[in-house]
Symmetry: C2
Subunit: 334 residues, 2 copies
DNA sequence: ATGAAAGCGCTAACAA
DNA sequence: TTGTTAGCGCTTTCAT
């Protein structure tokens, strides 16, 4: 059997409570402190977090639910989150739900049963009723990248609308009037915001809105490829295109490559995320980038504040971060 | 307070043990079964896995340690692993150790204190003494992608040597005699195997080994870029290059792009991993691909077998999977 | 098949 | 400051 607090109490001749107090940073006489430390060292004692959790009703564990782990945008955020959380003693239980709302519900249920102390969620849908068990138990939830309609909780978002508006206006300033938009799936928060940014830009520029220049992709590589092809086939007048996430950007580049469409000679191009990929393309892609590291950091810190009682649960915060634009050589002046 | 087994015992008029027995699939009379189910439904009872774990000394949780989560190779494996494990009721605690051996030790310690039932590890170093606590407690460890020198445990590997040997031989058959190799960091298991594959290929082909044609990168994008530049500057005779992991492949492509080196006109090129990236490049990259999904699946299943006692702990298995070669248009005949 | 009771390792309230 | 005691919610003998 493993070494317990009892063993080290016996060894030092002290009481259980004293040892426990030491373990939790309480007041213990220097002399006894040393004794305890020696015993811990000698017996290789390790706190049983499970027993502790049973008593305190806290697991020191955070649940993370994301749509796709092998999506570099998610992975970068999680990396940062996990680092910060573990540094503060919290373990993270990760659930990838494959952009499937049913799987997401299962994950919430799973993590709820595991009694995680809080939840970090990048939702696949835009309803949050499945989060009710957490809300009811007063466990903090921080939303990443997307907002939910029917539930109020903290969120760390990005200025999607502004990012796309600005990007499209760059195309406009370069002389483009027929700009294609590969938008994301209907109903997805970021997709709607980005599409709205596109519309706003055209309106600002006094350009005609052409519905046939908008195609909805599903945020996947295959979807990006198909959308790019569809746009091109249906719009001979199109001279530029904006792709609104990384996977679809990659898909569009693949398709352009396979269709032998010259970028930017035939079509000017603005992609999304992943600077490294943009640099690997010939010519270097112009892209909108999101501050993944900061998104992760802010989300983790927000959750930690709630967890440690530094911020009341009722108070919800909406953090909105700015994006960046990295110029490549895929915008051709006309 | 949450609903406990006690509440549902009271509600049904049955004893604690009966309810517990039901929960664990024991023999309970049909009539009582129905009663219990009704009570569970009505009271929204959820087993407290923590209390259960305290008693059974099992957490139903697996620790996963990887060098870099935002490395698509790792992410794809983890996605598969997590899916399978959660399907069998196991939660996964993920630790990213940033390719840092010290951080890896901390992660092992962290997960050990958390009493995870088993470990899935893609080690950053090649020594395993920090795993001793797990071995001592008879907790299964499955190594992914890399082997450790001083410890015997299950592993799921890939035929790195054969993969690279075959790839290099393709270059040889295309008429290349001065083939550069962007190898991985010294001491890293896969790096050494792949380098050995390169050497074997040259030996098989009866070509001269030129040490200046081998550069060690650090498996990062920046490292790949620097290595590619170095190779090119030091070897005017070089006509082809093989890059031995995905990040470095991307780095090399970026550098070729920025140095305006024409691939394959000036330099024939074989990369590693990530088919999508290969397809996005112009022209499409020829690459070696690894079966990430299968690596994940086999590792998870192996661990599960140990966990559920279907395979004795003393028996260790070494699984070696085959790679694939995907032809692009970056090998030029000479 | 079911129930009573002990106890997993820890924390927290209280007393000393 | 330190020790005693009573559980946290569950599983698991051992009777019945």
């Amino acid at each position: 059997m493993a070494v317990t607090i009892k063993d080290i109490a016996k060894k030092t001749g002290l009481g259980l409570a004293t040892v426990s107090s030491y373990l939790n940073g309480g007041n213990v006489r220097e002399k006894n402190k040393a004794k305890i430390e020696a015993a811990i060292e000698e017996l290789h004692f390790e706190v049983n977090e499970m027993a502790r959790g049973l008593k305190t009703n806290r697991t020191k564990t955070i649940g993370i639910i994301i749509p796709e782990l092998n999506n570099i945008f998610c992975a970068e955020i999680i990396t940062e989150v996990e680092d910060i959380l573990r540094g503060r003693g919290y373990a993270t239980m990760l659930c990838d739900c494959r952009t499937d709302e049913r799987r997401e519900e299962e994950a919430v249920d799973f993590l709820n049963k595991r009694r995680v102390d809080g939840l970090l969620l990048m939702p696949s849908g835009n309803l949050g009723r499945h989060l009710y068990p957490f809300v009811k138990k007063n466990k903090p939830i921080v939303l990443i990248d997307r907002r939910l309609k029917d539930i109020q909780c903290d969120s760390v978002l990005v200025d999607n609308l502004g990012a796309v508006r600005d990007a499209v206006l760059r195309l406009v300033r370069a002389g483009h009037e027929n700009i294609g938009m590969i938008a994301g799936p209907e109903g997805v928060f970021t997709a709607e915001e980005r599409l709205e940014g596109y519309r706003e830009a055209l309106a600002d520029a006094g350009l005609r809105q052409q519905e046939e220049l908008i195609v909805r992709g599903d945020y996947t590589i295959a979807g990006g490829a198909a959308s790019f092809r569809a746009l091109l086939e249906q719009n001979p007048q199109m001279t530029a295109v904006l792709v609104s996430n990384y996977e679809m950007t990659m898909g569009a580049v693949i398709e352009a490559n396979e269709m032998a469409v010259a970028i930017p000679e035939q079509i000017s191009f603005i992609g999304f995320d992943n600077l490294e990929f943009a640099r690997a393309c010939v010519p270097k892609l112009s892209i909108v980038t999101q501050p993944t590291k900061e998104i992760g950091r802010r989300a983790a810190e927000l959750l930690l504040q709630k967890l440690e009682g530094e911020m009341p649960l009722e108070e919800t915060v909406d953090i909105k971060l700015e994006t960046d634009f990295v110029n490549g050589r895929t915008i051709k002046k006309r």
